[in-house]
Amino acid sequence: MDPSLLAQYVFNGAMLGIIYAMVAVGFTLFFGVLDVIKFSHGDVLMVGAFTGLTTYLALDAIGMKSGPLMAAGAMLCAMLAMAALGAAIARWLVLPLRNAPPINVLLITLMTGTALREAVRLFYPAGANPKPFPNLLPSAALPLGDFALRTDNLILLFVGFSAVVIVHLLVTRSKLGLAIRAVAQDAETAQIMGMNFRRVVLITFALGSALAALAGVTAGLYYSEINFGMGLLLGVIGFSAAVVGGLGNLYGAILGGFLFAALQTLGAVWFTVPAYKDVFAFAVVILLMAWRPTGLIAERSAERV
């Protein structure tokens, strides 16, 4: 294959991979602390993207000129708002169902996602139509042979990577991370040791949702378009990535995210009809699950009987 085309594919794959990894890390964090799947995650991402867009419009209206500053503002606002939304969902919808069958939690969050999606479609001005997302970052291209590396995509890749690394450091190195890991390992013992279970859970949900918001704004900047339905597929892909990697494992989520992006890219290269890439990727996911039922990096603890 032509090297510049190959570079193009690898770069696109990496871009997709980092977006998926950010979503998957959220799923794996929630599963870690509470053993639940919060399926509204993808739609939280979408609301985050719309919050980012609204922030941009507001900043533009008050006369801000600098693109990168507006992008940073959009990201920050979206992350803060979604952190609050994620914590609220955990507080009022997920925690009350702690003792219910897991399927109920899955269902209630799926329905929350639907409600968010519908609310944006119905109540955001012209929310049913795809919205153009402005190109805020410098888009100068560095030519590398036939392949042009765009600086804005490079920045997005860097921001995404740093976000994932920061979350990783937060979970593995900080006192808060210690609390998160303690609750993940054994919630009751953690409570006996004096940890505020509810606070740790809410902070974890806020953290994961902020990451989803970042992923949403990144996706908006990368594709230059957002729509109310974008969260559904991104959420399912993030979930698949987290599951394939092994739920509850940060490395697994990152690995899964890039693996899914690689599968989609390969599918797009191999098949003459590029739309088959999703069929291919999901079929491989099903096969992977048959091969490694608890993900590539399996859960450490033995199954409770």
Partner: protein
């Protein structure tokens, strides 16, 4: 059983059935928006006023006189259907509710009895529908056979998922069906053989020369809506499906499925073949969905990928949850609520997914066992404890 059921008179249950039938009739007949809204309000308030203890009494009356209740329900449904014999729209709604109930009964076997989650219910409906589309396009294949093949094929394609489903549990298993639902829809959208996003036309059902898509001419010169054919067929299908599921529940098969759902480890310790029961439940459920999908496709005349999305699958799961997981009787009212209310109440048509998801959230928060929770089996209805 306790004192409550001893005093359970058959009249209470029959009266309740009569009210349900009258309400259903009024609701389907109502044309003005304010009438629909008023009826919805009356229904809600009536249920709230009746309270839980009266509900229990009605339920125990139904449980104590099962066969007479069944016949009452059948006769009342027949009367309601007959009253709408010329009304296309009402009959279409009735048939849709009954066909979706058949599919949900399938999900109920999978999820309510064996504990196998399936978030791809609409995909199996779709397999049935597309089978009908492909086979009815070729002349010479009897349509009764097509419906059968649709069920078999849905079971067969579902068996592709069996290996991964058996090896995984909980959320991992949920992912497999979700991935399948998305894969199925995307595949249909890009495949030219299956008509792409526009889908395919399906010709109407024709059995023994009787065309289901022609209005029925009566000997005395009137004309009944052709949907009456489909309503009768779906009524029969629903009857067969309910009987099948009830028999299954009350047999040792049902006990085995329950054992597998409640505790896999304990069940296998006691010698239950967990894999076998999961396969039985999953395949049977998918086959029911496939049959329903084939008839539904023939009735509506076309199939398109947009009808078989993950969102549609979620609606099916929600019907099962709303009706009360594991309770086949709850499915019919839940399906009616979910499918008819948005169609009738135009004011909420646009907002239906929003309202509907909020409604399910409230039910899950405040009544997690569904509107009509599953009761303990009563193997001998007339048995009295000393």
């Amino acid at each position: 059983m306790n004192a409550a059921s001893q005093s359970a008179s058959p009249w209470l249950g029959m009266l309740a059935l009569l009210f349900v039938a009258m309400f259903a009739f009024a609701f389907l007949r109502a044309e003005q928006q304010w009438q629909v809204a008023a009826l919805a309000a009356v229904g809600t308030i009536g249920l709230l006023l009746m309270g839980r203890s009266n509900m229990r009494r009605i339920e125990s009356s139904w449980a104590a006189h099962q066969s007479s209740m069944q016949w009452t329900a059948i006769v009342l449904s027949a009367i309601v259907i007959f009253l709408f014999r010329e009304d296309h729209f009402a009959l279409l709604m009735i048939a849709t509710v009954m066909l979706f109930s058949v599919a949900c009964l399938g999900l109920n076997v999978q999820f309510g009895y064996a504990g196998v989650v399936n978030f791809a219910g609409a995909a199996f409906l779709g397999i049935g529908g597309y089978t009908a589309a492909m086979l009815t396009a070729r002349p010479g294949i009897p349509h009764g056979f097509v419906i059968l093949v649709a069920g078999l094929l849905a079971g067969l394609i579902g068996s592709l998922l069996i290996l991964p489903l058996l090896r995984t549990r909980g959320h991992y298993a949920a992912l497999i069906t979700i991935a399948f639902a998305i894969l199925f829809r995307t595949f249909l959208e890009v495949s030219d053989t299956f008509g792409g996003p526009q889908g395919l036309k399906v010709s109407g059902l024709r059995i023994f020369g009787w065309s289901f898509n022609d209005n029925i001419e009566t000997p005395w010169g009137g004309e009944y809506s052709f949907y009456l054919n489909y309503v009768i067929l779906s009524f029969l299908l629903l009857g067969v499906a309910v009987m099948l599921v009830r028999r299954l529940e009350y047999s040792w098969l049902g006990l085995s499925l329950d054992a597998v759902r409640i505790d896999e480890t304990a069940a296998s310790v006691f010698g239950f073949d967990v894999a076998r029961w999961k396969i039985v439940a999953f395949t049977l459920g998918n086959a029911l969905a496939g049959v329903a999908g084939a008839v539904y496709a023939m009735m509506t005349g076309f199939v398109a990928p947009a009808n078989f999305t993950l969102a549609e699958s979620l609606i099916l799961v929600s019907i099962v949850i709303l009706g009360g997981v594991g309770n086949p009787i709850g499915i019919l009212p839940a399906a009616a609520l979910v499918l008819i209310l948005p169609e009738k109440l135009q004011a909420i048509q646009e907002y239906r997914y929003l309202l509907f998801s909020l409604f399910v959230i409230l039910v899950l928060l405040f009544r997690p066992e569904g509107l009509l929770p599953r009761r303990m089996r009563v193997y001998a209805p007339r048995w009295r404890s000393p």
